[in-house]
Amino acid sequence: MGFDPRYLERNFTSVGTRPVRPDGLDKVTGRARYGADFNMAGQLVGAILRSPHAHARIRNIDTSKAEKLAGVKAVVTSADLPDLTDGNAEMYAILDNCMARGKALYDGHAVAAVAAIDARTARKALKLIEIDYEVLPHVTDVDEAMKPTAPVLHETVFTEGVEPTPDKPSNVAKRTQYGHGDIEAGFGQADFIVERSFKTEQTHQGYIEPHACVANANSDGTADLWVCTQGHFVYRQHCAELLGLEVSKLRVTSSEIGGGFGGKTHVWAEPVALALSRKAGRPVKLVMTRDEVFRASGPTSATSIDVKIGARKDGTITAATATLRYSCGPWYGMWAELGAMTSFACYNLENVKTVGYEVLVNRPKVAAYRAPSAPMAAFAVESVIDELAKKLEMDAVEFRIRNAAREGTRSSYGPVYGPIGIGPTLEAAKNHPHMKAPLGKNQGRGMACGFWFNFGGQTCTDINIGPDGSVSLAVGTMDVGGSRASLSMVAAEELGIPYENVKAVVADTSSLGYNDMTDGSRGTFSTSLATISAARNAIQVLRERAAQTWDIPVEDVAWEKGHAVAKGEKYGNLPSLSLKEIAAKAGNTGGPIAGHSELVADGAGVSFATHICDIEVDPQTGATKVLRYTVVQDAGKAVHPTYVEGQYQGGAAQGIGWALNEEYIYGTDGRLQNAGFLDYRIPVCSDLPMIDTQILEIPNPNHPYGVRGVGETSIVPPLAAIANAVSNAAGVRMTHIPMSPPRILAAIKGEQAG
């Protein structure tokens, strides 16, 4: 029987309530085990030597002195990670990033690693490794890297996506284009046009838990990996491919994860830990320092974006274009492309065109960061939208409402939208008391919209019903912020039992089929889909067992509120059988009762949000204070509203940090200058106000409960909303993120002088 994922309106019992999460007790008592909280008998300590140069050829590595140091059990270089990628460019980039092969491509690039009996010996050993570098010219700025005179990172990169393919190598890895209509004609119809260029600096996800793993590779080809990750199946795949292991012989167990936000979707040190373990013949624990996390994990892109939008006097946008240049680090990624796809997704446009350029620079390999690439594009577009509204003398919200995408709109990236939430979030924002609250001196209000696709993907779950009627739910998507609670609620809802009777766990890679990772806001969407499917399969078994018990056809058994019910008057005397009663007799009716589900979760509903914020600017210092912040976002259906609010608030806070103070600062030597929480300034508690949330529920037609992903969209509008607020407060248009006090003060002074 096929699973029908279509939305059906219903009354919920568990879904929509706010129970305590199942993993909460362990987390408030300090018992929960994260990446660095696990140990194996006989384990060694791993440590990685990193390039101090932004770009350098490695002429020779001499590890002999380190190998001779007492207590050192293994030293590895790229020679210990032979290239098994067989022409797969994506895997080769991961391999090259895990351990430099021939060239160090950024400050922090791994060049060698050791495993020793303790941390002190490992650190000592790193100092004994001698590397002969030929320092090469480097480039860290995205615009500089595109210039024909820029140092080229790879002689093998010729810009893809342009005709004809260039005959000279460059740092522009790929050009992509999206849109429809006739741009020139569209601008021809415009009464007003605003055109501006913007820059955003590189930021890091800033998860508090550094990458950590314990690896054990046995001589018989089996291996175990304990690791903090957003996707243990993906890590298994990557590690197995890079080390030449059979996928099913590498068991990966995901620890509790101390934040990821996209940064733990990618292997960094895990293959190195396995290589060290294989060479040493002992388990190896490898934990990054905070300095290493900043220098050598995967921050987001720095960008340079041009936007041009034209509108008629009546407020209709006639044409919109954007050119987006995104830094990728040393290897290609689809970051500008995602920016190009999302830029104008909030709007109903006849003529739209976006062009993205993927640019290679001597900085760490870019990884996903919560709605990757969308916040920067939204910053540029929503800033111009605000400016255009001013020119038109229209209210900024009304202007957006007038041009908002709706059901049936052909999106700027291609597909035609189903029911979507951009209009409703704008209407809700317009009617929100925040919009009408008075403002004081040096204070400004800004608002902006944001979009994210949301992903689905491969998903697999198991439901096992215990002999006492309790239910274990095994999922394969990492719980990054409460999904074990929401998925337990979904299982309880479907089975018709109390939430407390369900215990959800994240199963290891040997206990469950493959799952894509927790990214693209897919965790609750796709795994709840699979959980509903598994629960329905379990219900089918429960009905069969009841039918068998009663000796009636299974077609005559219904499942209602956690009970098998014999349908029809002829069974009038049969009392219903509870899940618990059926489970107790399972041993006599055919064995354990379970429900499984393996599916590709198609139909993730797109997500939209509108944010409002008030900012005060100190005109003498450029200091900013966030006075008030409101998030309005469509959740489809909020399974656990408290955790949905948490996602809205968390994304907004990250966006606020990005907008105001967070940035990677490189010196002219190409080295990162602020690789720590002291000078990479994420918001602290006293920086923020309470963050108000409003959850809208416009059901996703492709999910039985209407669920959409909620995790990412909340980081898309803040950069723009804050830029608009600062611009309104200070009277100058801010075009460079972060809007740090020196940038704001310079803009104010520039405006006064000019």
């Binding site: 200058q673 006293s686 920086d687």
Partner: protein, 278 residues
């Protein structure tokens, strides 16, 4: 104390003094220092105390900054010094860090130092050659460097008793509301006469030169005035002009020069109001 001085004097390799450890352990963690000897001075008699003396206050070298905020007499006499000490790092860091450590770390951006310099504080030093007392501004000589000789330990910071109608204030600029190193800072200490005219002033700026700057020109501008708008404007300009900062990851030259003046003006205004209330 003699034992500590002896250990430090006799050590052949790298020796480090441990009081709060909030700088030392960070440097060790980063691999910037690997001391052969760590001398924990916290168990030395009296070094963890704030004492009120005939001359004023003696703040022991191992007194965590949080304790300054818990001493009502010190808070009343030197509110600027106390607020500076309580801006260093977080509550957690303030539970450990000391103003002597802040001084000896010799960062131009150290929070407590401009306040101490403005306050005219002195450092009491014990060493192999005995005891000496110097002005705090004579301790740091360059970023990361001090005038202390081998084996010397600052055992206390000395602050004078306050005359009537005197107060100090400290302000710093940071991008966030907490947890940052000062981008620029200002400490101001004032004494007024009964008519509200400033009779004595000291103005110090942080993070605008290799060491904390005592801006004598700024003090001259304040003395004889009632901190009126024209005086404050001149003060602001003098402080901006005296600043010779650098561009770095925390701020630009232009920003630091401008904001140094703003911080000095605002700190002077606070100090003036406080002094007038006494």
């Amino acid at each position: 104390m003699e034992e500590a001085v002896g250990l430090l004097t006799g050590s052949a390799g790298t020796a480090a003094i441990l009081a709060g450890g909030s700088d030392l352990l960070v440097r060790m963690k980063g691999g910037f220092t690997e001391p052969d000897l760590i001398v924990d001075i916290k168990s030395i008699d009296g070094i963890g105390e704030i004492r009120q003396t005939a001359e004023g206050f003696s703040i022991g070298a191992a007194v965590p900054c949080a304790m300054l905020g818990e001493n009502e007499a010190l808070k009343r006499a030197w509110p600027g010094v106390v607020e500076a000490a309580r801006l260093i790092g977080s509550k957690q860091v303030q539970g450990r860090c000391t103003i002597v450590g802040n001084l000896c770390n010799a960062s131009p951006a150290a929070d407590s130092v401009p306040a101490l310099v403005a306050a005219g504080a002195r450092a009491s030093i014990v060493g192999p050659a005995g005891r000496r007392t110097i002005a705090v501004e004579a301790v740091p000589t360059a970023p990361g460097k001090t005038s202390l000789a081998k084996g010397e330990i600052i055992d206390a910071i000395l602050l004078d008793e306050r005359p009537a109608r005197s107060a100090d204030a400290y302000l710093r600029f940071i991008p966030r509301t907490e947890m940052d190193i000062a981008v620029v800072s200002a400490g101001v200490s004032l004494t007024l006469d009964t008519a509200g005219t400033i009779t004595a002033a000291r103005v110090a700026l942080g993070a605008v030169a290799p060491t904390v700057l005592l801006v004598e020109e700024a003090a001259r501008i304040l003395v004889g005035s009632k901190a009126d708008e024209a005086t404050l404007q001149k003060l602001e300009e003098a402080c901006s002009a005296a600043s010779r900062p650098i561009d770095d990851k925390r701020g630009t030259v232009a920003f630091r020069k401008q904001v140094a003046g703003v911080m000095a003006r605002r700190a002077a205004t606070i100090a003036y109001t406080r002094a007038g209330d006494r």
